[in-house]
Symmetry: C2
Subunit: 201 residues, 2 copies
């Protein structure tokens, strides 16, 4: 029985290795390539440990860390949907639900249920833990863009109005982090790394 | 003051982005490239969440997760030292101590001290949390090797006696995981993916 559980757990561990091959739109700071979702998940998890004091409401840091460790796991099957891709977003929920069924279904039932609940909580964004986790998930791409002279924003023709519309919800998890991010976004516009508004129809 | 802290924290967050460019010797399962230390850290952290029940002694899973999130951060400056590289291992401690001074020194003093203590605890391996974290850190490369037909072992001429000598300490953190890993290592020898013993002088 213990051996069965271990086999199921290892099966999941092997399967999610594929998250290292799921590429995001953001570029790394010290290496010239796009980021993948596994290393991104590590980064935001460590940010939760460091930045929890900036959450609007008290958060359970350990839960936020776990939530961020699993928040992108469904991308193993569903792929990464660019946050500014409104067409892709429509089918995203269905793809991700199927992915969650399969992936969390590999685990022993109690653990699959627990991790899936954390992922759903993150997606729904109704708890203070989920709102803070989502704020970190939004902050990091802003940092990556700002510190690569707006590389991903420019490649995809993203303008400041859209960056602000997308990221202002960061304030629901952390006013302090949103204030910081907004000043960086304004700086990117000033430096010509981010176009202020869409110039084509 | 809060703003100073945030600036220090973000500085650290930006700096450790470089861990995504530190390559390990192991190969990924679903993508044809070596693993980097950031995505590895994500993987072992999620393994801690899933596999804690197999630890020899009760562990504080949240501490183990944090420990694993930071356990390789010093590689940003010190690089990855291959576990079978005995020459490199000699200078490793000194390189990593200097890296820890610089990197953890970027953080607000209380947080730098806390993360450094977790890293040192991992390195010293004297607590049950550290022993279990180290067991996971050893298990994953065995899994990667076994499921890539011994690719990294074969590339570096590593033999089963060395794999067993290196990894048997896994049992200090988890007898169950070592038993599982040992059976995989034996299977790799049976399948010809791992040479049983060194054949050259």
């Amino acid at each position: 029985m213990a051996q069965d559980r271990l086999e199921q757990q290892i099966r999941f561990v092997l399967e999610i290795d594929a998250l290292k091959g799921v590429l995001r739109r953001t570029y790394l700071l010290h290496v010239d390539r796009p980021e993948n979702s596994a290393e991104h998940s590590w980064h935001v998890a460590i940010m939760a440990v460091l930045l929890a004091e900036h959450a609007n409401e008290p958060v359970d840091t350990s839960r936020v860390v776990r939530m961020l460790l699993v928040h992108d796991v469904v991308e193993v099957d569903a792929g990464d949907t660019y946050v500014y891709d409104t067409a892709g977003a429509a089918a995203k929920a269905e793809r991700e639900t199927r992915a969650a069924d399969r992936l969390f279904g590999l685990l022993p039932e109690d653990q699959g249920r627990e991790l899936r609940a954390l992922w759903e909580e993150f997606e729904e964004g109704r708890t203070s833990d989920a709102r803070f986790a989502a704020a970190l998930d939004r902050l990091m791409p802003v940092l990556h863009n700002v510190h690569t002279a707006g590389r991903s924003w420019r490649e995809h023709g993203i303008t400041a109005d859209r960056v602000i519309a997308r990221n202002s919800r960061m304030a629901e998890g952390s006013e302090a982090l949103w204030e910081y991010a907004r000043s960086l976004i304004e700086g990117a516009v000033t430096h010509g790394h981010l176009a202020p508004v869409r110039t084509r129809a």
